[in-house]
Amino acid sequence: MSHSGNWEVVIGLEVHVQLATDSKIFSGTSTQTGDEPNRHASLIDLGMPGTLPVVNKEAIRNAIRFGLAVNADIARRSVFERKNYFYPDLPKGYQTTQLAEPIVGAGEVEIQLENGDKKVVRIHHAHLEEDAGKSLHEDFHGQTGIDLNRAGTPLIEIVSEPDMSSAEEAVAFARKLHSIVTSLGICDGDMSQGNMRFDVNISIRRPGEPLGTRTETKNLNSFRFMEKAIALEVARQIDVLEDGGEIVQETRLYNGDTNTARSMRTKEDANDYRYFPCPDLLPVMVSEEEIQTLRDQLPELPDARKARYIGRYQLSDYDAELLSGSIATARYFEAAAEHGGDAKLAANWVMGELAAKLNAEDKDISESPVSAEHLGELIQRLKDGTISSKIAKQVFEACWNGDGGPDQIIEAQGLKQMSDSGELEKIVDQVIADSPAQVEDYRNSDDAKRKKKIGFFVGQVMKATQGKANPQQVNQLLQEKL
């Protein structure tokens, strides 16, 4: 009875970006994390009676920077409102946020997919708001502990249009936003700490039909989880509808460890938030001059960076897209290329060996044990013929394991390529002398076959030299002697 196939997936994202300001959005309290609970919760953040908010200039600027980066309209006048609901991590009983007049209006972001296709995802708007505190459930013997250190940390919430139709597109969009905010330096992008949080709205429909009921999936603290969670939810919705059921509008909580999701709340118990303009705050007015100044000072953004990689480093579109996609990767790549003096080699290493190791150990490039400078050093040694590419992998491995820098490792482990042709000649002679049958066979073969059969001798020589011989030199010597 399956009607599968022919389902269209409709995805929109709501992205919370924690702004990297020194102080909170409405108070002069440090945004520092990792300290004891409530050490960074001032009278204002605690919602003490009689306290009042004052807006942080840098939070406003950061929101504008984001708006400019996605070609959005910047509101000359924006208004903070109160979203009223009770929750223990929300000290005032309302969240100060923006609704009717957000600071960033409609904008757009271009994403690129694996196959090279490009697509524009529209941004509905982005608004400023304050973060809530944290509820701690462990260690309070059945009760909940409230830590308000995070309460009042500035956020921008970016709301996309439902323009994405697959997990791949959603992840590409999420990565692009991540790249933009980290390139702007307005957020550190650390998803594991919740500094950037993605909520995914998903619905499915038959082609040509109106939009289906959507669900919202939360708690996606990596791109990998986002991809899996979308696949899971799409499959669930298809199952429900194909079994004749109905999708309930609800919020779902994803668990990455088990790759499962459960319903958190349905619309029936949705709150009536009673938004109204915050009477403790006045409209935020932004001048043309301020916007122009911020525009002039914008750092290089991912799209410009990619164009530069193609132009200056002659990288392929694909390589440039990959390397420019994350500010951390881009910075690493540029440092390695600079240090190593070869962008193409640096690109290959960053996307090849390094990416594989990072992936295998689930590490971020910022945590790479091999620094960009060390990779650059390795590239230099490759280029000047000190080591072969095979040995280079060995050096990289050692460097990854903390054995020191490439030069140090090459020296300590005696990995320098054998450049003394006299010594190499002796070894070649020995190999030929030790393999009379293979020599006979080689000599009786035609040119085409010889090309294959010489590999045996090369292998023997490399083995005898522990890989330190220059393969081209070995080849040349063998051809002469055979």
């Binding site: 440090s30 001032s42 009278l43 200039k57 502990g145 409230i146 303009p277 006045l282 007015m285």
Partner: protein, 95 residues
């Protein structure tokens, strides 16, 4: 619109106030008195009028991004009805 016990119950829940059944009738009557008075607003011709949130139409002053607020934990935790290990305590919250 007249306020009935259902409306009172809904508003009371949103405001996290407990209203016992015995109070509802009296409360509904009072709220109806108030809203009856407030309904005079419907007479006003405000079609072309913008809402006024603040009497003086001035803009929000912005604060420099500097840390100025001190750590007040040791001063405020004793004000809490229940606290432990630097946290405010509430009955278990189930998400």
């Amino acid at each position: 619109m007249a306020i009935d016990s259902k409306v009172v119950a809904r508003a009371a829940h949103l405001a996290r106030l407990r209203v016992d059944d015995s109070e509802t009738a009296e409360l509904s009557a009072r709220l109806n008195d108030i809203l009856g008075m407030v309904d005079q607003l419907q007479q006003a011709n405000v079609d072309q009028v913008e809402p006024l949130a603040h009497p003086l139409e001035v803009s929000q002053p912005l604060r420099d991004d500097r840390v100025t607020e001190p750590d007040v934990r040791d001063k405020v935790l004793p004000l809490a009805p229940a606290s432990e290990d630097g946290c405010f305590l509430v009955p278990r919250v189930i998400e």
